[in-house]
Symmetry: C2
Subunit: 204 residues, 2 copies
């Protein structure tokens, strides 16, 4: 019964962890990190406060776990979309559309992601490096798309890291508006408009 017992324990572990993470995501998204309380998260998850601390060491760690979970899932999904696109233009479109699509389905996650990203930009902190790496990795992804596009004559020569950042920033801002305005339709249109802007600029 050793194997089964262990499996049962694992299942329970996963069940609780998942439930708490889901509750935390909602509460953090609604109130922001500071205003959210462990009591509220515990209640939302249907467990006692103490139980939360059986699965996560601290409020901060719970928050970071919530963030990390979403970021990893987002990145994996977007990566898939990009890989199945051919041209640089299509890959950039996949980058934008994949993100919009994921965040539209996971608005709570995006709220956390967005504010945390902003404060990370501005306040150096201890756990910054870990997330900075995740972000940089995404920027690097865009950079390689751009470089390939330039090499193949699809994209004009430009400062690649800087341009990658601009596209990344534009995408984030576009998602913010989407999430804020609450329209879950029009994702395709938003993507097209944004791609058009990035591609052609505003010049006549």
């Amino acid at each position: 019964m050793q194997v089964l017992a262990k499996s049962r324990k694992e299942v329970l572990q996963e069940f609780r962890t998942g439930g708490i993470l889901q509750a935390a995501r909602a509460v953090f998204a609604r109130n922001g990190y500071t205003a959210a309380t462990i009591d509220e998260i515990a209640e939302a998850a249907g467990v006692a406060k103490g139980t939360v601390y059986l699965y996560f060491d601290s409020k901060r760690e719970l928050f970071l776990a919530t963030l990390r979970e979403g970021v990893l899932e987002l990145h994996a999904e977007v990566q898939r979309d990009i890989d199945s696109a051919a041209s640089a233009a299509a890959k950039i479109r996949a980058f934008i559309h994949g993100r919009l699509h994921y965040c539209d389905r996971n608005r709570d996650f995006f709220r956390i992601y967005y504010t945390e990203f902003a404060s990370l930009q501005v306040h150096a902190s201890d756990e910054s490096p870990a997330f900075q790496d995740l972000y940089d990795q995404q920027a690097a992804l865009l950079e390689s798309i751009l470089r390939r596009g330039i090499r193949q004559g699809e994209i004009r020569s430009c400062n690649v890291p800087r341009t990658a950042r601009l596209i990344y920033d534009l995408t984030r801002a576009a998602i913010a508006r989407h999430v804020r305005d609450g329209k879950s339709n029009h994702i395709k249109e938003s993507t097209s408009e944004l791609c058009d802007f990035i591609w052609r600029g505003i010049q006549c």
Copy 2:
């Protein structure tokens, strides 16, 4: 002596208010709203905690006053720059350059502005409307520049409000990188690169 007495009081009022605002700006920028304490701000301003409450009703109000002061000054400066530019391209450049220039000189302000903007985007709050108006007013400024450019054949037809937002977002993101990376030079270059991106896109 009525007039003089009043004037003296006013001078003192202004002196204290200014000192506290300045200290608050630095402390809020360094620690963020929640982690900042009134004790720390009071110490930085060289007054006792109670004195802070003689000039501002609450922590939140002090924060908002700090933010408002900067936003108004920024907007006034940028407005001047835009007014003295002729073409749409020059006005957009003035919009970007003016902001970069101001925030580069007032980095503490920008840190506050940036994080607050992000959380405003995501969490509806009581005092949102007042600041939302300020932001919208800036977006409207950009919109009228765009419309004029389109009318005069300088800019191609596009979704004006959306495009204005994109330019606004790009500018903010560019400043964030500047402030984060700490280079106070290269403002002109950054402006040019950004204008180029907005104008021509990345297409070959």
